[in-house]
């Protein structure tokens, strides 16, 4: 509780939260603690991210990128505009793999061409981040490293690199790095560790 209060006071003193909000939060925490539910009050729960909804990929020529992703990964292009197009991981009406909920749509890539500081969500111009998503890894069906290399070669993709025994890396036409692996590469047992971690998924 003390840590919780200290954090919020710190945020208040640094102008991150208003006085009113500080009062509301501390009141809620205090009353909840009194009701012996302090655990839930001490750290307000976050939101449950169910799946990646989309990846926003910005490049100099979105059509070229979209055509490449369509060809290499068998993705349809839907909802094209003058500056972007979506490539869903499946057909309309399909559910994402492993998801039973009805309100979780298929993950998709949005290939777009626009200034990097374009407004985010109608707000001010997008900030320049100090972090970067340096590569994305796709899970593909029936992954086999040597077959994957042959498949890339068949569609003209060069510079395919091994990512351990259980994944490969390639670059798209704009030099963006992609990794391909199977379902067995997980947060618990990544591509580099699979040979030794004893996870048999």
């Amino acid at each position: 509780m003390e840590g919780f209060v200290a954090k919020h006071v710190h945020d208040y003193q640094n102008g991150k939260i208003s006085r009113r909000w500080l009062i509301e939060v501390l009141t809620l925490a205090a009353t909840t603690a009194y009701a012996e539910k302090s655990a839930s009050a001490a750290e307000p729960s976050g939101l449950d991210a169910a799946l990646v909804n989309h990846v926003s990929y910005t490049c100099p020529d979105y059509r070229r990128a979209a055509d490449w992703y369509s060809t290499v990964f068998n993705l349809d292009q839907v909802g094209a505009t003058a500056r972007d197009v979506a490539l869903p991981f499946g057909k309309k009406g399909e559910k994402p793999y492993g998801v039973s909920a009805d309100d979780v749509p298929l993950t998709h890539i949005i290939c777009r061409t626009r200034p990097l500081d374009s407004a985010a969500g109608g707000g001010p111009r997008r900030r320049k981040p100090t972090a970067v998503i340096d590569h994305i890894a796709f899970t593909v069906a029936d992954f086999d490293r040597e077959r994957a290399k042959a498949q890339f070669a068949a569609v003209g993709v060069k510079n395919v690199r091994d990512g351990g025994p259980f994944s490969v890396y390639v670059n798209d036409p704009f030099g963006y790095e992609l990794q391909i692996s199977g379902l067995g590469v997980t947060a618990i047992c990544g591509a580099e560790a699979r040979a030794t971690c004893g996870d048999n998924r």
């Binding site: 991210a49 990846v55 869903p88």
Partner: protein, 181 residues
Amino acid sequence: MERFIADLVQSLDSGKIDRREFCKSVALAAAVYGAGDAAQAQVQRGFKIIGINHMSYTCPDYPKARDWYASVLNMKSEATRDDGKRANLMFGPEPGKGGSFLVARNPGNVASGSAGAKPGAEAVIDHICYTIPNWDEAHVRATLKAKGLDVTGRDGSLHVYDPFDYDVQIASAAEENAFKR
């Protein structure tokens, strides 16, 4: 096979593939068909993506990112993979059953085979959008506010910044859906 060829022709006509690629694909299809496995011909054209396996997120201070994503998006850090330089943050279905993870890592922590972060790359992932099921506008906004975050966007599709000014979008199925653009 006929459908496969028809698709190829359509791709050629629309300029998605060039003549050379078309020829290679037909030849490959014929060879595979000749070997008695027509279905394999379609597989050879490309991959079937099941989903996002993971996203590699390089930032100046990975514990800060780890704690933020765990707190705001309820991602779970896999303790055995937190080595002081990176952490794997799981979300969605179970690992191995469609689940994804965000690898939060410090600069210089590069996976084997990866080129790592390349400053000045021509293409960037400028934001990631996460689906929040059972979307309740008031609850979502209150939760983000309680985390001290400034929220922009419209109902059902909101944006916040993580500690490294990376744009994070969260959305409902109704507002962000490839087939409803």
